[in-house]
């Protein structure tokens, strides 16, 4: 294995992206909306297409704004259908994102005469190539993806730190939050905006696989290790960082071992996150499989009595 500066940048960018995604991801998991990252990353297609059709070029900013706006719309439509139609949130999410994606496909076909706006490339930004696209920042050549994801992380940190108390309350007891005078509806849309912006920033620069995986897997693993929000955020951040760094290392080490030339770094990062989750699942000191089977806490039907 030959670890270069590029590899450091890739691991670092991956870690920034994983952190940025796992922070709002914790709240999504707590609110039983963990599929939102997946839904948004599919649903932004029409936003990209419209931004392109309006501006006529592939400049980042309009595309970014179009995508983020569609991401927020996904959350709004999901909320409407859930509330007015009185149906399951997952189903509402599925309806919204498949419809928006289909709409996006049709718009893209309309635009395809002019440009290579390929849905495949929308879904797979590639973390391997980030070092080809750099910006100068204070005398340093920094990959643009690192700046974008760092910015997303900073935004998440600021918003979550400022509204920590409110977000915590509305995630665990939205009724109480409303009674106490925080608008849990407003917080919901704020969180969704955060998720949309993070998702778009991340998948545009490093691909959707990392986004979807890091919004769900590290928070889920952290939830197996603690029942408190602050430790959950911290543990989830740790797992996210470890997944990214170890993932890239495994992407370099693993393929030669089993007779292949190379692999996909984002995919390996998701795979590593899955491995870390499995470790937490087995070895969690409070509720891991090991502890449960040795303590005989598994009820006969195989389901765990909810606390």
């Amino acid at each position: 294995m030959n670890w270069t500066t590029d590899d450091t940048w890739i691991a670092l960018t991956g870690a920034l992206c994983a952190l940025a995604c796992s922070l709002p991801g914790c709240f999504l998991v707590l609110r039983k909306m963990s599929m939102m990252g997946d839904a948004i990353s599919h649903a932004v297609l029409p936003g990209l297409a419209i931004a392109f059709l309006v501006t006529g070029d592939r400049a980042s900013l309009p595309m970014f704004l179009g995508a983020a706006a569609t991401g927020v719309l996904t959350a709004v439509f999901t909320q409407w259908i859930t509330r007015f139609g009185n149906i399951d949130q997952g189903a509402a999410m599925g309806i919204v994102f498949t419809t928006l994606f289909a709409l996006g496909l049709i718009l893209i076909v309309q635009a395809a005469d002019h440009v290579d706006l390929d849905p495949g490339c929308v879904l797979y930004g590639a973390i391997e190539f980030i070092t080809f696209d750099t910006v100068r920042l204070g005398g340093w050549e920094i990959p643009r993806a690192a700046v974008v994801n760092g910015g997303a992380l900073l935004l998440n940190l600021v918003v979550i730190a400022t509204l920590y108390k409110e977000l915590r309350l509305s995630s665990f007891d939205s009724g109480l939050a409303d009674t106490l005078g925080f608008s849990s509806g407003l917080l919901h849309y704020l969180l969704m905006t955060l998720v949309a912006v993070t998702t778009v920033a991340a998948f545009e620069s490093v691909g959707s696989i990392i986004v979807i995986a890091m919004m769900i897997v590290p928070p889920a693993a952290a939830l197996l290790l603690t029942r408190r929000l602050l430790p959950m955020l911290l543990i989830s951040s740790g797992i996210a960082t470890a997944s990214a760094v170890l993932g890239h290392w495994m992407a370099l080490v693993l393929p030669p071992l089993i007779g292949f030339e190379r692999t996909n770094t984002s995919g390996m990062m998701a795979f590593t996150a899955g491995l870390l989750f499995t470790l937490a699942w087995i070895f969690s000191p409070s509720e891991g499989l090991l502890k449960r089977y040795t303590a005989g806490a598994i009820s006969e039907s195989g389901s765990y009595p909810n606390p």
């Binding site: 599929m35 498949t98 419809t99 979807i212 995986a213 897997v217 996909n264 984002s266 995919g267 795979f271």
Partner: protein
């Protein structure tokens, strides 16, 4: 633009290609509509999404295995087997997470989706360097428009198998969907039924993936059942309707795409299904939004009318016994309850339309005169209210000071039968009992009974 002749020949399936695509998507819509209905009821609608992503590593691994065994690697059956195995593994992984941790279905599905998909991307990138790997993805993820006869045969076989199994085990699956814990406690093999149901879903998903592609099969598993849910509260009818909506979206969408050759058929079918969903959500006869709003408005009107007439009667009571129908000062009516001026005006004009108020008095006059029928209705409503209050006090032991509010909560839905039962219960009483409590009013001095 397509001519009328084009439209007719497409809708009537006169071209062979159109016939194949329409038949295939309609069959798939039927099968996935039925399986999706169970997913919706189990709140697992995104299962199709998770599953179709979870098939990804299986395809890459199957390809690698077939290549190292000396084959071409692009054997459809082999790839589909790989996809199915990895899809089933994803499902098992999801069920294991759900059944052995505190994490819920959505997290379990998200885990299976993202980790399997990521692993798939890693595997796919590894096998990419093998000869013949190019186009592997499009080979497995089909497009509705490029469907061929063998696809239709396969969809039909899978569709019939899945539908048949679902119908044979309908009772068991219903129990699983509506009360899993009860099913478990009465000894049904809940876990095995759950796995079987998800295997059916896997079969539909993998077939659909290969025939029509990712986004359409996800939509097919979610949209038709959700649309059907707005029209009925019975599972059997929902299954039929869901299958029909799926088939209809396939047929309509595929027909439209045959007319506009450059638009992707899958996307058009999704949009057709979405349009049907929107229509159902608005106009559905069981849970549609408009119906619900109308019901709510009707109830609000009824409550408003009853409040107004009772207030009028209570004021008339204070004007002298025996109660007779005299003009009531509007100001007194306004002070009797916590109405705003505008609210009272609205209620009065509504009462005017219902002929409960004499013509010539109403929203704007300072004196309100109840009509003959209004006075009758007012005494009936007041009587019902008092009877109900008395019932609550004597039989439900509600304190007289609280009874007004409690009676208010239910009296608007008091049926004639219930009133007769109460009358019998509370005999002998005067025709209109006096209020068991002080009637509160903003001009508090005059309204005690």
């Amino acid at each position: 633009m397509p001519t009328l002749h084009d439209i007719l020949s497409t809708v009537l399936l006169q071209s062979y290609n159109t016939r194949i695509v329409v038949l295939g998507t309609a069959m798939l819509g039927l099968a996935s509509g039925i399986t999706g209905a169970f997913l919706l009821l189990r709140k697992r609608s995104l299962m199709g999404d998770a599953l179709s992503h979870a098939t990804f590593p299986g395809i890459g691994i199957a390809f690698a295995v077939m290549v190292s065994a000396g084959g071409s690697g692009k054997d459809l059956l082999g790839l589909l087997t790989g996809a199915t195995i990895s899809g089933v593994l994803g499902v098992l992984c999801m069920l294991a997470i759900r059944n052995t941790t505190r994490l819920r279905d959505d997290v379990a599905m998200g885990f299976a989706l993202s980790v399997f998909f990521g692993t798939g991307a890693a595997v796919y990138a590894m096998v990419q360097t093998k000869p013949g790997a190019a186009g592997l993805e499009s080979f497995i993820y089909g497009k509705a428009a490029s469907m061929v006869f063998s696809d239709v045969v396969m969809i039909s076989v899978v569709g019939i198998l899945v539908t048949g199994t679902a119908l044979l085990l309908l009772k068991e699956f219903m129990l699983l969907c509506f009360d899993e814990d009860f099913a478990a406690s009465t000894g049904w093999p809940v876990l095995r039924l759950d796995i079987l149901l998800l295997v059916l879903v896997t079969a539909v998903t993998v077939t659909g993936l290969q025939a029509v592609g990712l986004i359409l099969i996800i939509a097919f598993l979610i949209i038709p059942p959700t649309a059907a849910r707005f029209w009925t509260n019975s599972l059997r009818r929902m299954l039929v309707l869901s299958g029909a909506i799926g088939a209809m979206s396939g047929w309509l969408g595929a027909s439209v795409s045959a007319l506009f050759a450059n638009l992707p058929a899958g996307a058009l079918i999704v949009l057709t299904a979405a349009a049907i969903f929107l229509f159902s959500m608005l106009f559905g006869s069981a849970r549609g939004v408009i119906l619900k709003l109308l019901d709510q408005a009707k109830l609000q009107r009824r409550i408003g009318r009853q409040h107004l007439l009772r207030a009028a009667y209570e004021i008339l009571e204070t004007m002298g016994q025996p109660v007779s129908n005299q003009p009531i000062p509007r100001q007194e009516l306004l002070e009797h309850r916590s109405w705003s001026n505008a609210e009272l005006s609205r209620l009065l004009s509504q009462a005017r339309h219902e002929d409960h108020i004499e013509p010539g008095t109403g929203a704007d006059t300072s004196l309100i005169h109840l009509s003959e029928s209004g006075f009758g209705e007012a005494s009936r409503i007041t009587r019902n209210h008092r009877l109900w209050e008395l019932y609550l006090i004597t039989h439900a032991e509600i304190a007289p000071s609280h009874v007004d509010r409690d009676a208010d909560l239910v009296e608007h839905i008091l049926g004639a039968e219930m009133v007769r039962a109460l009358e019998a219960e509370l005999k002998p009483r005067p025709a209109i009992p006096s209020s068991p409590h002080r009637i509160p009013s903003r001009s508090s001095s005059s309204s005690a009974t």
